[in-house]
Symmetry: C2
Subunit: 396 residues, 2 copies
């Protein structure tokens, strides 16, 4: 009597959720400080103090104006401010009319997928990938999700494998750089090659192929790495953004879809994004945090702890013999597991109260995701245990 698909989605816990619950059980036995939980992607550095100041400044204003409905795509002045911020940083010339504010990146992605998806359409996703993509594309938008296997040497794109999976049914290609779960950043060379390939395929099939760039980690990068701003390389790009990670506001649900004017059928596509938001029950993005985002558009939380953790983990693990692509962004490390069966490896790690997520969950078996948005102390406690775990495999 109830929709089976929705029931399944709501009743089957994700692996990450299972690990989280397991962590709680262990904490009750061995103490919270002894559970080394690397499973959650919840920012642990605080929002910049300017966020608090912005909340206080807004709360001092007229409640009817602050808490009232905004127009469906977002308050015009907020959209203009966010567009200006992009223009300053990326040399673009957007107006607020290219932005549709959303309740975070998940909402942005769902609006983009539903705006585009027609009968028979395929959306191409590169492994390793955020597992909700497949669910959004299939259960959310009713389209087909086509997976490209990972390029495990560098977590860039395996273009041969990709070319085999692009067809006349390809409506869009989804990228996520800096990447969850690998922490890899697509190089400018990768973006250029991807753009050239997609233009060629657009010509071949005679219709646009959109590039959906999901970039909640755009501002979380290390070592002065530059993130290529994708719409500057490929016209038919749609950007899905969230302030969840850059401003440490994941619970507040604030982000946007950017439909650049140069994208094919830009005006129609923007209208369809608005229509999708309406059909999904999004009335407007949360109004107070629209204004907070505008006041803090150029800021990023202090990510020094993430950098410290990354360096400790990367050098520590590689010295012990773990193999890992050095992450340049986000707050994840994605080493190979020491046995091919990543689920078995992660189970074994539990013996040391090390909580890791198997790579299979992200379409990349033989890996483990280590979320290092944790206290540095947790990393320091964990390293000797990762070593003991490695020794078990040497002895066998």
């Amino acid at each position: 009597m109830i929709n089976r698909q929705m029931y399944e989605l709501g009743s089957h816990r994700s692996t990450i959720r299972e690990i989280f619950e397991y962590g709680n059980q262990r904490a009750a036995i061995v103490g919270r400080e002894n559970v080394l939980d690397f499973s959650l992607g919840n920012p642990n550095v605080p929002a910049p103090d300017e966020v608090r100041q912005a909340i206080l400044a807004e709360a001092a204003g007229d409640p009817v104006a602050i808490h009232g409905y905004t127009s469906a795509p977002g308050a015009p002045d907020v959209r203009r401010t966010l567009a200006d911020s992009l223009n300053r940083r990326f040399g673009t010339d957007y107006t607020g009319d290219s932005l549709y504010l959303t309740a975070g990146a998940a909402a942005a992605l769902m609006c983009a997928f539903r705006a585009l998806a027609c009968e028979g359409d395929e959306f191409v996703v590169f492994a390793p990938f955020f597992p909700e993509y497949k669910m959004f594309i299939e259960s959310g938008a009713g389209a087909k999700c086509v997976l490209v296997p990972p390029s495990i040497e560098d977590f860039q794109i395996d273009f041969d494998a990709f070319a085999q999976r692009v067809s006349e049914h390809t409506k869009a290609v989804v990228i996520n750089s800096p990447n969850n779960p690998s922490g890899a950043v697509y190089s400018e060379q990768t973006i250029r090659r991807l753009a050239a390939f997609l233009r060629e395929k657009e010509n071949e099939y005679g219709h646009p192929i959109y590039l959906i760039s999901d970039e909640p980690y755009r501002e979380i990068v290390y070592d002065n790495v530059t993130i290529p701003f994708v719409p500057n390389y490929y016209d038919d790009t749609i950007v899905c953004y969230s302030y969840s990670k850059s401003l440490s506001l994941p619970g507040e649900r604030i982000g946007y879809v950017l439909v650049p004017p140069k994208a094919a059928d830009s005006a129609d596509l923007y209208a369809a994004v608005c229509g999708a938001g309406r059909a999904l029950g999004y009335v407007c993005a949360p109004s107070l945090f629209q204004r907070v985002a505008a006041r803090c558009a150029d800021l990023t939380s202090d990510i020094a702890v993430y950098r410290t953790n990354r360096d400790l983990l990367y050098s520590g693990l590689t010295e012990m013999g773990y193999t890992c692509v050095k992450p340049e962004g986000a707050f994840y490390l994605f080493p190979r597991t020491l046995e091919a069966d990543d689920r078995a490896f992660c189970e074994r790690a539990k013996k040391y109260d090390l909580l890791l997520v198997p790579g299979s969950d992200f379409g990349a078996p033989g890996h483990m995701r280590i979320s290092y948005c944790v206290k540095t102390e947790t990393v320091e406690k964990a390293l000797p245990l990762f070593k003991k775990l490695a020794e078990e495999y040497k002895i066998r």
Copy 2:
């Protein structure tokens, strides 16, 4: 190439939106104060000061905790507090596990519709109705929306017309009391009769028929009217609630779905609601306002202005010869238009800069919606103009 249905939804302005834009154009010519805009359902009384205090109190806390992800159904302590508030007021014994917090009532409705809708299902809606219902049911959840014509004498339920539209395909029935656009409140007698009728039909068809009670106006009532709490009359009720109207927070998007334990297949249904939220891209309800709602759960904005406006409009218009069911709740008056063609009537009203929404938009031709969430001054200016308008019809 783009999803046509989403494009249509996003590019066709609603009548209310058209009127709003027209009002802006007129304001530029005759001055904002001379445009008597009764078209928008945006609360114009401020949120209680406790809302501001709650925001300040929360903002003084740990940003990582305040702005972090909550569990998908909402923070456990918030859900418990909201359940306790219901229990105190309605004699129920819910726990937080029956509540799923959402980004407002629109999200709550979409989660309920998608959780329930299976191939071939029908959802019954009573006119006059909030026009997005049809869109949510059809474009959002892919089900069929069956409309019951209005009972224009009292805006209760025309049970004969209703009975003709219930069938074995009926999955759920949607009610909205206090009602947008009529302001009518379903009497206890109506709710009892509806419950008895649905129980009879459940027995006849051998499956549950859910009653989806959309009640964002539950706290906006006048003259000591008591709103029957629907789950106390019919077990298979799902409540969709929003703090948009009661706390004047429409832009913040905070509300809930209540799946009472007594509802048929309650646990499965709750799981499906969670699954629907996931498939629609709702990660969690906005975290700061989850906490604000908990702190202010028992409060309502000061609705004295609404009452004053209602009394002025109702007595003024009926004296002039307009026919109107006296509204007992919400902030709408829904009189009959003075000609059968309500669109023509509302066009004629524009001559006096009176902006009204035709009843046809709500499935009740021959009526006009007057949103009286405006300054009392606006009402006072409008009354003589309503009189002039009425005189035009007497002369003809």
